[in-house]
């Protein structure tokens, strides 16, 4: 018997809780040779900005033990191209689409949010946590005031559900979470990548041209679980968990920590089918344990 895996996050219904994480799935079109995109719970699109961004010089990728670093630097064609070219394709076949929005200034965020408000994106994810750009990105997400001011501006610019994506590179992630909740965020997603660095011992150069980059993959999973648990206990809005999720067991763990849905990223590079395997594993888990709705397990961890 097939189970109903659907979840509701900030009023938006996802057919299942597994969402492709922003920056790892482009605008979906690169994976259509493998499977229909509507088998995913949703897609959080590549981070978009008010104007086209060229991104950082290569190398942008470095491998680590059980993970990787990236310093792409938000290369994207700009919000108008996203809306005009990619979104119409993505909205076919019932895909639930999250637009991921980044900016250097409050006006950038507001202007792009106004444009997205007039489209049929299902949700806007505010990227205030990109570690790879000098202006904007993480500079907003590392202080309560910065995070609050961007959230406030976007909240005023759109009626779309607003999800704020938080950086783990802060002293207290719960304080930032409370700050964005207070300014009207509908939900929170976390964690973005941890700031990391690798050095080529032969050239004595950092592997990444940007010197430092965002650390993701299975290695960061325990950090993500911890932060999702802390934030889910600190706010009353929905939380979407991400950071190193690779298997269905990881997804269950993240939901027990307090996430209503999950995002997967780096695991897709290792195995493009991994989101489908997680969805399949979740369904079998529900059957085995006679779980009628995944909401039954959200936040059910019993702390010592």
């Amino acid at each position: 018997m097939s189970r109903d895996l659907s979840v509701k996050v900030a009023g938006v219904t996802f057919p299942n809780p597994v969402i492709a994480a922003s920056g790892t799935y482009g605008f979906g079109e690169d994976y259509t040779p493998l499977y229909p995109l509507n088998r995913l719970g949703g897609i959080s699109c590549k981070g978009t900005t008010i104007c086209e961004k060229a991104g950082n010089l290569p190398p942008r990728i470095a491998e680590t033990t059980a993970g990787m670093l990236n310093s792409v630097g938000l290369q994207n064609p700009g919000v108008d191209v996203f809306i005009g070219k990619y979104l119409p394709e993505l909205k076919k076949n019932g895909n639930v689409i999250i637009a991921n929005l980044a900016g250097a200034t409050i006006d950038d965020y507001r202007e792009a949010a106004e444009k997205l408000d007039a489209t049929d994106v299902d949700m806007i994810e505010l990227n205030i946590s990109c570690p790879n750009v000098k202006q904007g990105g993480a500079t907003w997400g590392t202080t309560c005031d910065g995070a609050a001011s961007v959230t406030k501006a976007v909240r005023a610019a759109t009626k779309k559900p607003v999800m704020v994506k938080l950086t783990p590179n802060v002293t207290s992630v719960t304080e930032i979470a409370k700050a964005v909740e207070a300014e009207g965020a509908d939900c929170i997603s976390l964690i973005n990548t941890l700031l990391g660095m690798r050095i080529d011992i032969n050239t004595r150069r950092p592997v990444l041209h940007n010197n430092v980059g965002g650390f993701s993959g299975p290695a960061i999973f325990p950090v993500a679980v911890r932060m999702v648990w802390q934030v889910a206990n600190a706010v009353n809005i929905d939380v979407v968990g991400m950071g190193g999720i690779t298997t269905w067991e990881d997804a269950v763990e993240m939901m027990m920590a307090g996430a209503k849905a999950v995002q997967m990223g780096t695991a897709i590079f290792t195995d493009p089918y991994s989101p489908l395997k997680v969805i399949d594993g979740l369904e079998k888990y529900m059957e085995r344990n006679n779980i009628g709705s995944l909401s039954e397990i959200v936040g059910t961890v019993q702390p010592w």
Binding site: D30, P33, P58, R60, I61, P218, F269, P272
Partner: protein, 257 residues
């Protein structure tokens, strides 16, 4: 562009030189789609990121593809430990190959390979009618595939850094002599970036069409993550284009070396 992602059986494994391996994999659906200059993205057991490796041979009748790689680190070492009969997880075929079909039929093609950039030039040479190979290696012990090039090329010029086989020096000297003959319609090249830059400079000077295959640290391999970009001049402006999806083969005139 279509590609597959699956586990396929390794039906042949050979050592070509120290730390250089040749794998033949049975994957009819990939062989059907594959073109010279494309690559396979291989899962190294236990590693997060796949390893992009150029296709060295395509046999549609046998339903196999072949690739040759060098052990560069722990990931390629893990791939090298796989044996005949083992399954290998590949996303393939990926990227744009060499445009062999646009080489003028009445002129010669030169394929240029340097070191581990030599393997993809073998399948490329097979798809050209009048073809000369110019191959560069470090030394005698590093020479690979030379005999196979001799079976598909009209002429094969080998040079080594130390002069232990063929001409001493890099590929530019024999390439210059070939270009001087005035009957070259296209040059296709793969190898170290400095070599490709020198080849591009030469072909530009002689006004000969040239394509080069670039390498870069790669994430997804299919175009989604934008992790593997190269600096390309196109339409009057500099762009960072994806090596995996917009390349790995680029017109040499466009590459900012």
């Amino acid at each position: 562009m279509s590609y597959k992602c699956s586990e396929y059986k390794i039906v042949g494994k050979k050592t070509l030189a120290e730390n250089i391996y040749s794998f033949t994999v049975r994957c009819p659906e990939v062989a059907e789609l594959a073109r010279c200059g494309q690559f396979v993205h291989i899962l190294a057991p236990g590693f997060t990121l796949r390893r992009p490796i150029s296709i060295c041979g395509i046999d549609r009748e046998e339903g196999t593809i072949r690739f040759v790689f060098v052990i560069k680190g722990h990931g390629t070492e893990a791939i090298a430990r796989l044996n005949e009969g083992d399954m290998i997880d590949m996303i393939a075929p990926l990227g744009n190959g060499f445009s062999v079909q646009s080489a003028p039929a009445d002129k010669r093609v030169i394929v240029v390979g340097g070191g581990i950039g030599v393997p993809p030039m073998l399948e490329t040479a097979k798809n050209c009618s009048k073809v000369t190979a110019v191959l560069g290696f470090r030394s005698y012990g590093n020479i690979i595939l030379a005999d196979e090039f001799r079976t598909v090329c009209d002429s094969v010029q080998i040079c080594t850094d130390d002069g232990s086989v063929g001409e001493k020096g890099i590929v530019t000297a024999p390439l210059t002599r070939e270009l001087d003959k005035g009957d070259v319609g296209a040059v296709f090249a793969c190898g170290p970036l400095r070599m490709l830059g020198a080849v591009a400079e030469l072909t530009h000077r002689y006004g000969v069409f040239c394509e080069v295959s670039l390498e870069e640290r790669m994430g997804c391999g299919v175009g989604a993550c934008v992790g593997c970009v190269a600096r390309i001049r196109r339409g009057g402006e500099e762009k960072l284009l994806r090596v995996c999806k917009d390349g790995p083969v680029f017109n040499a005139e466009e590459v900012l070396f």
